[in-house]
């Protein structure tokens, strides 16, 4: 359990984290979501006592991180970037960390094996690809078999196989009862990996809920209808209080009534339907919606592209 209570952090004139409170529960994968510059990495650094908050506290199972003497047994962290000396091999990097907490040397081989780096364990970390660096970061986090995992952008730079691997790994770690917190700007990945979401923008909490609730509450749902009699159907639907938009291919985008009502109405008036489906917004879209006002750098085309991407249900 990670408990953040009114965390605030200022860098010069910039308020990086602003009165942020949240809880991360064990047994679940919690996604920490926010646009670039929202304060995710700063928050994670405060959890690990690397940065001191200007006010507020954060505890792990009730204890401040810097009160832990050998923290790797309790908390495994994968920090932004590589945070590894490029001249040191993966095996030596892990050995350095294992020894600092009195973890037996043999654990290094077990971890290298799990993250699939055994064959390149003696290679200098500076020669690693982005994906290999991420695997080393995950290995670092797992070294002490910790009950809490904190991962900053773990999926970055992984190939599809690697992404699938880490998704399964994180889910199985959470299923073992561990607390798993991962930050990401990849919303689509979060919707597949996370159970719970903490969304921040400009250092402030925007949402703290399950992934499903977040999408439900934030996103725009509509019923997509294709028919040869769209105009007549549109009129009937408007009379029922629905709002109608027309999609690029001529289909109706109906909000305000559900698919059942649309189907029943069409049947009652003898209108043939060629398509009837509920369009559910993606997490991507819900996220855009939620953080719209708190994105520092945005182009209109980005927003549109993301909005166009819908997940049908």
């Amino acid at each position: 359990m990670i408990t953040a209570d009114r965390l605030t952090k200022r860098y010069g004139p910039t308020l990086a984290v602003d009165d942020l409170s949240f809880e991360v529960s064990p047994g679940k994968v919690t996604g920490f979501l926010g646009p670039n510059g929202a304060g995710k990495s700063t928050t994670l650094r405060m959890i690990l006592a690397l940065d001191a908050p200007d006010s507020g506290t954060v505890t792990l199972d009730g204890q401040a991180y810097d009160a832990l003497r050998r923290p790797l047994y309790d908390v495994g962290a994968m920090l932004e970037g590589k945070a590894v000396h490029p001249g040191r091999s993966a095996a030596d990097h892990l050995l350095v960390l294992a020894r600092s907490n009195g973890i037996p040397d043999r654990r290094v081989d077990e971890v290298l094996d799990l993250v699939g780096l055994t064959s390149v364990a003696r290679k200098r970390a500076g020669e690693y690809s982005l994906g290999m660096g991420q695997r080393l970061g995950i290995g670092t986090a797992l070294l002490g078999d910790p009950g809490t995992l904190i991962l900053d952008e773990p999926v970055n730079g992984l190939d599809p196989d690697g992404i699938l691997w880490i998704r399964n790994l994180l889910r199985s770690l959470a299923a073992e009862g561990r607390t798993v917190l991962l930050s990401s700007h990849l919303m689509s990945e979060m919707s597949l990996t996370a159970d719970q979401l903490i969304v921040i923008g400009h250092g402030k909490l925007i949402a703290e809920s399950t992934v499903d609730e977040f999408i439900e509450r934030r996103a725009h749902h509509f019923v997509r209808v294709r028919s040869t009699a769209v105009e007549r159907l549109g009129l009937l639907l408007r009379n029922q209080g629905a709002t109608i938009d027309t999609e690029a291919d001529g289909a109706l985008a109906v909000t305000g009534v559900d698919a059942t009502a649309v189907g029943d109405l069409a049947a009652a008036h003898g209108i043939a339907l060629h398509e009837l489906s509920t369009q559910r917004a993606s997490l991507e879209e819900a996220f855009m919606e939620a953080t719209h006002d708190s994105v520092d750098y945005r182009t209109d085309t980005d927003t549109q592209a993301a909005t166009r991407e819908r997940v049908s249900q």
Partner: protein
């Protein structure tokens, strides 16, 4: 579907071993697992013995041409230990880099996430580096002394290890390098960037003595208290006087500089974000 290989569980040890011991093993592993450590210590050893040998050769050839006054102050032990001039730069640079490379690579955050007690990390890091440097320093200092005296033998005055003050000088030159290493670790923490920290080390040990000498303060009243001169008093076996402190007083002051730098560094290290 790819299956996830299970990682064996790791039992938490009911350890009562001091944390400092674990951190020391970790810091030792850090040092021995990067190439720069080997290169820099090799450079320090080569400087100590090679440059010492060159100085000895020069004096062996030119001794007969020295003036009576020069012959009177000729100190064969000092001559053979002159490699410290370059060795101190190697050690100073490495001491600074041991810290600044962690800041440059982000490793410092990994280090403090593993051991949140930053004062302990700094103390152990400085201690491990000092211990290795002391061994390397003392061994290469003995090497330089014996090579130098072998070259000076013959018509040139030369020292033997049993002569008064000689053993102290030879061991002292190695210890000087070790304490300088601690000072450099502290400077690395204070400045955090490699270029700045290296410049500071070079400034304190090479530039500052020259500047102070050029300003010409009344007969060494200031210059003998500089870290460089105070530390070197232990192996410059000229009689102490106005221009130099007594060997152990000088060395004690030098150790004081190192401890003070480390103390300030520790305070800032705790206060600043990693």
């Amino acid at each position: 579907m790819m299956t996830v290989t299970a990682l064996p569980r790791l039992p938490r040890p009911g350890t009562t071993r001091p944390l400092a011991l674990d951190v020391a093993r970790s810091e030792w592993t850090k040092l021995r697992s990067v190439r720069s450590t080997y290169w820099t210590f090799a450079a320090a050893i080569a400087s100590m013995m090679g440059i010492g040998a060159i100085f000895a050769l020069i004096f062996a050839n030119q001794y007969s041409g020295l003036s009576v006054a020069e012959k009177a102050t000729f100190n064969p032990t000092s001559v053979s230990l002159n490699g410290y001039l370059f060795a101190q730069l190697a050690i100073g640079v490495l001491g600074a880099i041991v810290v600044t490379s962690e800041y440059a690579t982000g490793m410092i955050r990994t280090t403090f996430a593993a051991v949140p007690n930053r004062r302990l990390v700094l103390a152990v890091k400085a201690g491990v580096f000092a211990a290795i440097t002391a061994v390397v320093g003392v061994v290469s200092s003995f090497g330089a002394f014996f090579i130098g005296q072998a070259i000076l033998s013959g018509n040139t005055p030369h020292a033997s290890i049993g002569d008064p003050g000689v053993l102290r000088s030879v061991v002292g030159a190695g210890l000087y390098l070790a304490v300088l290493g601690v000072l450099a670790v502290g400077i690395g923490v204070l400045i955090r960037r490699t270029a700045g920290a290296v410049a500071a080390v070079v400034g304190i040990f090479l530039v500052l003595p020259i500047v102070v000498a050029a300003i010409g303060t009344p007969a060494g009243t200031v210059s003998k208290y500089l870290p460089s001169a105070a530390g070197q008093a232990i192996f410059h076996t000229a009689a102490p006087g106005q221009h130099s402190l007594s060997p152990w007083l000088g060395f004690a002051i030098f150790v004081g500089y190192a401890i003070a730098t480390l103390a300030v560094a520790a305070t800032l290290l705790v206060r600043r974000d990693a």
